[in-house]
Amino acid sequence: MSEASLYFLQQLINGLTIGSTYALIAIGYTMVYGIIGMINFAHGEIYMIGSYISFIVIAGLLGMGMVALPVILIIALVIAVFIASTYGWAVERVAYRPLRGSNRLIPLISAIGMSIFLQNYVVLAQGSRDVALAPQISGSWTFGDPQLFEVSLSYMQLIIWAVTLVCMTALTLFISRSRMGRACRACSEDQGMTNLLGIDTNRTIAMTFIIGAALAAVAGLLLGLYYGVVNPFVGFIAGLKAFTAAVLGGIGSIPGAMLGGLILGVTEALTSAYFPSEYKDVVSFGLLILILLFRPSGLLGKPEVEKV
């Protein structure tokens, strides 16, 4: 392979890594949107909180002298998922549920308020500076021609791919097979009717917030380990990116969120590889505007039918 194509391959690997985490966060947007037709503006902050919690647990366990890395990571994952889910649940309970049925603008503004609140809450609790964690999982496979360009696929990247794959599969199975998943699907078709059929819509809606938050926490742990830093402001941009991914794939569609995340990740990696990297955000938001322009229902979404 030539140098250029090896370089391209490397960017593809990096892009798919970031993209899979976008996809994990995007699921939260897409599920909530699918069921209540609203954007959960505070979702990016949940991801950020997930990242913080996992750092706290990892640093804490290392500080206590624990050495078994897999155990540490699994404990961190479980705790981060648990606490972030609680945050997700609380967001729904405080900022969405009391406002259900009012003018669309109102829950939207309250969710933005929630997002500002959470961000500054973390600033106050943990400080606004970057917190850095030394790399926990090092090592990589390299291939390619050492003379030209060596492509590296780190173990961390592999772990991100694997965890994402597991999460997505589990989610798909959950939605299509389980009772709760069926209730979710029913709710997104017709909330009133679902309620009449004896399904607790409140619980179902809370459940989508919890699942979304849990996946965001997984992404928080993975990206935290990958980049090694976190600060209270990462949720804002990551949230925007993930939302873009959700729209790209077609909001409301779970496979769409996965596809959208991967496409966005690869686009970004390629942009920062061939252009000044500051412009990668510009490219992804530009992409968002373009999709909304030409295909508002996204790649895999269903077009919306207006009811008169």
């Binding site: 954007i39 909180i49 913080y52 919690i53 750092f55 706290i56 990892i58 640093a59 290392l62 500080g63 705790i79 648990f82 606490i83 609680t86 609380a90 405080v94 900022a95 406002l99 003018n103 669309r104 603008l105 109102i106 829950p107 939207l108 503004i109 309250s110 933005i112 308020g113 929630m114 500002i116 609140f117 959470l118 961000q119 500054n120 973390v122 600033v123 106050l124 609790a125 943990q126 400080g127 917190v131 850095a132 964690l133 030394a134 941009i237 925007l240 729209v247 500051e278 955000d281 510009v282 938001f285 530009g286 968002l288 505007i289 909304l292 322009l293 508002p296 919306e304 207006e306 008169v308």
Partner: protein, 417 residues
């Protein structure tokens, strides 16, 4: 009943503990390359348990609390204010008095207060502009600060590169902001409300990133400094005149004082705000203003009556943007220095909070809210770090208990015959 509440309260307190124990109870610190966790200080634990106690008690006694709050008599404005006919007769006098007061006031107070008043006026302008978009037309614009930035940079660049004066740049800045509003609005205004929110949010970020990275022109993160101050018919407010210029104090034959400049800037701001207020007030009573509100109320009904929604939304979006352009141009002139730091998302959020707090669609409400939002943080400097936290909380609480804002807009009364 009490028993039920007790369980709920217990549950809510437990949730609060889960939410806060790790996030607040433990702090991450870096020691060299190593990341450590330290237990929270006693003060933080006080916060945690205080918070838990509040949640527990408020859930336990929520019936009593809601009964108590319902029992508080709401101030009945109609009863306090004089009758409609008297009010409409008094109104012009009242407005005249306020305007005269605005012009006299700065000569009697300290420089600092005038400066703060100028800042407040900027936020009033921004609030009024965003109020058109969010309050009247019901379009959630989260990137409003981008238009503010465009106005500011338009003046800064035109002044730096072409030496154009503030007064020439003022309309240009508004037009530039309007142009960007138009170009962005044209495609996205067809979309549903929440998409618009995200797209405008993204747009705000794009503008900020571009300003930050286009170093050769905008100076990047260092911004642009030494921006010309406005002049009064060519009279400058500096200590020494520039080449061929005349200073205000020389012309008037008085001693130089730096407060002239501050007062002059304040007066410009007053005039700009009054102009914006007049225009928006007229627009609200014109067909286009009514169409904005109608569109917010029911888009389908609007279409069935022959209203072109794209054009109407676009007009609201563009006019709102141009107001921000105005404000931005003035901001650049006042500061003399601008950088992308001044145009971050938080600014958009603050302006939105002003509109929401004031009462969407209500002009007086927006003005009051802008005053509260700029003056309160100055008065309570020790709470500075809690400012944004409280803003966020306020937005959530307002939406829950008083979505119409502090001073909801009143429908105009019209006589048919």
């Amino acid at each position: 009943m009490m028993r039920q509440n007790f369980y709920t309260a217990f549950f809510a307190a437990g949730i609060t503990l889960i939410l806060t124990c790790l996030m607040v109870g433990v702090k991450l610190t870096s020691e060299g390359t190593e990341l450590r966790v330290v237990g929270a200080t006693a003060a933080q634990w006080t916060w945690i348990f205080g918070g838990i106690a509040i949640v527990f008690l408020s859930q336990l006694f929520r019936d009593q609390i809601s009964a108590a709050t319902a029992g508080i008599p709401r101030p009945n404005l109609e009863a306090i204010l004089p009758a409609e006919s008297v009010r409409s007769r008094l109104k012009p006098w009242l407005i005249a008095m306020v305007i005269v007061g605005l012009f006299i006031w700065p000569f009697m107070v300290s420089r600092g207060s005038v400066d703060l008043a100028t800042l407040t006026l900027i936020y009033i302008m921004l609030g009024l502009g965003l109020n058109i978009v969010v309050g009247l037309a019901g379009l959630l614009d989260l990137g409003y600060v981008a238009f503010y930035a465009i106005g500011a940079y338009t003046y800064a660049l035109l002044s730096n590169y072409f030496g154009l004066s503030f007064w020439i740049c003022l309309p240009i800045a508004a037009l530039m902001a309007a142009l960007f509003g138009f170009v962005l609005g044209f495609p996205v205004l067809r979309l549903r409300g929440d998409y618009l929110a995200i797209v405008t949010l993204g747009f705000g970020e794009i503008i900020r990133i571009l300003l930050n990275n286009w170093t050769s022109i905008t100076g990047g993160p260092n911004g642009i400094s030494g921006i010309e101050k406005p002049t009064l018919f060519g009279l400058e407010f500096n200590r020494r005149a520039s080449d061929g210029g005349t200073t205000f104090h020389d012309f008037m034959g008085i001693d130089y004082s730096s407060s002239y400049k501050v007062i002059f800037l304040y007066l410009i701001a007053v005039v700009l705000v009054l102009a914006v207020l007049y225009v928006i007030n007229r627009l609200m009573r014109m067909p286009v203003g009514r169409a904005w509100e109608a569109l917010r109320e029911d888009e389908i009904a609007c279409r069935s009556l022959g209203l072109n929604r794209t054009v109407i939304k676009l007009s609201a979006f563009t006019i709102g943007a141009s107001t921000a352009g105005f404000a931005g141009c003035f901001f650049a002139a006042r500061q003399g220095f601008i950088s992308p730091e001044s145009f971050i998302f938080i600014e958009s959020a603050i302006i939105l909070a002003i509109v929401v707090l004031g009462g969407m669609g209500s002009q007086l409400g927006v003005i009051l809210a802008a005053i509260v939002m700029t003056i309160l943080p100055e008065l309570a400097r020790e709470f500075q770090e809690y400012r944004m936290l409280l803003f966020g909380l306020l937005m959530v609480l307002m939406m829950r208990w008083r979505p119409q804002g502090l001073l909801p807009s009143k429908r105009p009364h019209m006589e048919l015959k």
